[in-house]
Amino acid sequence: MKKKILAALLVMTMLVGLLSGCGASGKSKIKITRALFNLEAVDEAQVKKVQDAVNAYLKEKGCNFEVAITEINSGEYVEKAGNAVASKEVNILWTASWEEGKIKTSALVSNGMVKDITKLLPDTALYKSMDQGQWEATKFDGKNYFVPVYKDNVEGYDLMYRKAVLDKYNFDVTSVKKLTDLEPLLKQCKDGGLKYPMLLQKAALFWRFYIDKFDFFTGETESNFVAVDRASDSVVFTLDTPEYKEYANIIADWREKGYVHEDEYTKVVTDTTTQSDLWGVSWWTDTPNNAEANNRYGQEVVINPLTERWAHSNSALGSCYCITANTSDKMAKQCIEFLGLLYTDKKLADLYTYGIEGEDWKLDANGQVEKMGKKYNHSMWESVSALVITPEAGSPADFAGAYKQFNGTAKTSCAAGFRFDFSSVSAEYTACKNLHAEYGFLLETGGVAKADVDAKIAEYKKALQDAGVQKVIDAFTEQYNKFKAGK
């Protein structure tokens, strides 16, 4: 009797194993991993629903593959997606140049985790869905690894003012050509009792506000000590430049005068502060639809440019997909086919981004998307091309056109297309970046008293020298000269 039971159990286990291993249809399953920018946890049941709907649609279209979608919360994305990619569990990964750790675009390339799809792209629907400039801008060493999400792929920064404040003090925003022009307004805000006349949103902004002078090709604030100076078209150590001193001094001065609050450098400012009436002026990343700021912040704000718009090496990688190196050529072709469909088929794009119509979203009177609930909560910028998707409520009527025009008015940086390789100076580069938190961040957010700014900059420079920054700069200079020669 025991033996029979055992045998039966064995057979059952084998059957279960067989069934689960194989999959009902024998089609290839493309595993997609994407991030969820929500505060709540991922609702795995809803994701499965959407995944099934997508697969049903793919079947309808006659594709011979299916997808398996995994969503990971943004807070754990670096860790979990990184682990998943490293253990070869993923085929298509969403990522960005500003993500951290192992899934940053530059890290993925340097670790060899992404597939070179240069040869697989030409003549595909995906390739034709975006202009060549986008593909060129995302190349690494002449090879295509990433599929950019077509959105506002250029970089420009604006100053943002609360309308209530502007009206109160009758301030003319066009009078502001540089940061110090803000001071009269900030003074009035301070005297009027505002807690945050200038709201930095606890961000170190040297690498944003000064993009008219420098191309910060590393794409992150921790390494803003190195950049390409546009005027001289060469790699510079930014801490030696007058601009850095100027910015640090402005912020320190504003800190002393009370325009910049202590909460900035102690990282106390919350993201709901922008929705309150405690601030006067802040900053905003230029997008084709600046009017959405009003919705985001729950109040009327006025936006005015501070810098020009630039097309950098990293701006097109603000949100992109990549195919992992463990994906076979055959499946990679299918991945490209899927992405091509995603970038050209409106129905799929809406499904993939917003979820199930009627459950997660519905169309409003203007034919734009109104989201219902937060179970499956994605946006265009991290999903699909702006050219194909149904825009969300509050967007300009010609959504695709607005984006095309926006991207078209940018200046191309002299360093566009430059990719730096830090593997030869990896230890020094990491050590230098680790110094940002205690020096650079404080200098740029008001953590240093005005009298100490020069001393602190000197200290920062010394610490960087000790960590080996000269080696890093020399390496980048050499690479940049090679890049220039090859242009």
Partner: protein, 322 residues
């Protein structure tokens, strides 16, 4: 005491067999087979959960690329350890802080654990004592992610409770000097109630006849504590201290990263090795760096533990770990 008695008893039970046979490991194991079986389940769990993944340590010496795996990645010797040492000042500071906090937390923490355990044990109103103990245990369940908000509530410069009560406006988040005290207080709040439970269990295991005898001899409470209670706690204290030495180079990242909000202004007294390593995870794509740092921490811990264990073995062999 129990050990020597056991030894004597064992000699009685194990009547002499042929000398050669008795000394072989194989014979000894066979004879003690039940003990082997007792150890087996935990042995297997440790093997599959801890030992198999331990192979990952090799990443510390490799230019690890996931696609090439552990066997295919290039060997780079001690290269990966460089990032820890390139900034000598930073290395010195974070090591100094790590060790300093280790001593403060371990010594002060153990002392307070014991004091609290004895205090609760001696307290006559048991019901009240139990209620108080429930409250003291709750902090361990509050994650540091939430604790950072509470700490902020107390020490914020304008709206913080301490500043409001004292009428001052000290900017705690800007001055590193205060943080040795702040972090210690937070650590104590979080862990002493919980940590005292272990010592209470030891106290409960003390034979009451000793106390009775001491009382008959006229000893007062303090003398009883000094001569009976404390010595009974020594084995557990020794063992816990020995175990903790192994982690001398590791820190509670929640405390040092989240409660301090990773504020650079405070690094002078709050940057420990683990916060530096956490930054490296965020800032660098190298797998080898964190593996190297971890190996460094483990090795130093091992050396310290061997030294400490050898010292204890000289003084009182019964209490050493091995």
């Amino acid at each position: 005491m129990a050990n020597t008695k056991a030894k004597k008893a064992e000699q009685v039970i194990n009547a002499p067999v042929s000398a050669k046979k008795k000394n072989s490991l194989w014979y000894n194991t066979k004879k003690n087979m039940p003990f082997v079986i007792f150890a087996l389940p935990a042995f297997l769990v440790l093997f599959f959960i801890m030992y198999v993944p331990m192979g990952g340590i090799i990443m510390a010496f490799q230019d690890f690329k996931p696609m090439q795996g552990f066997f295919g990645s290039r060997f780079v010797g001690l290269e990966n350890f460089k990032f820890l040492f390139t900034s000598k000042d930073v290395f010195y500071r974070m090591t100094r802080n790590t060790i300093m906090y280790y001593f403060i937390f371990t010594l002060l923490g153990t002392f307070l654990n014991i004091v609290l355990a004895i205090a609760l044990d001696q307290f006559v109103f048991k019901k009240v004592g139990r209620l108080m103990q429930t409250v003291m245990i709750v902090p361990i369940f509050i994650s540091y992610a939430a604790v950072q908000f509470i700490v902020y509530a107390f020490i914020a410069s304008d709206t913080g409770l301490i500043n409001k009560v004292l009428g001052t406006s000290t900017s705690f988040y800007a001055k590193p000097g205060y943080w040795i005290v702040i972090l210690t207080i937070v650590k104590i709040w979080n862990s002493v109630g919980y940590g005292s439970v272990l010592y209470m269990s030891v106290l409960a295991g003390i034979d009451t006849t000793y106390y009775e005898a001491a009382q008959i001899d006229g000893a007062n409470k303090w003398q009883q504590i000094w001569h009976i209670t404390l010595p009974s706690l020594v084995p557990m204290i020794t063992v816990m201290l020995l175990l903790s030495v192994g982690n001398i180079m590791r820190s509670d990242t929640g405390l040092f990263f989240q409660v301090t909000r990773d504020s650079g202004a405070l690094y002078d007294t709050t940057q420990v090795i683990d916060s530096y390593v956490l930054h490296a995870i965020i800032n660098s794509p190298e797998y080898g760096f964190t593996a190297a740092a971890s190996l460094f921490q483990s090795t130093v811990g091992l050396v310290m533990m061997l030294i400490a264990n050898a010292t204890v073995r000289k003084i009182s062999p019964d209490n050493s770990l091995f």
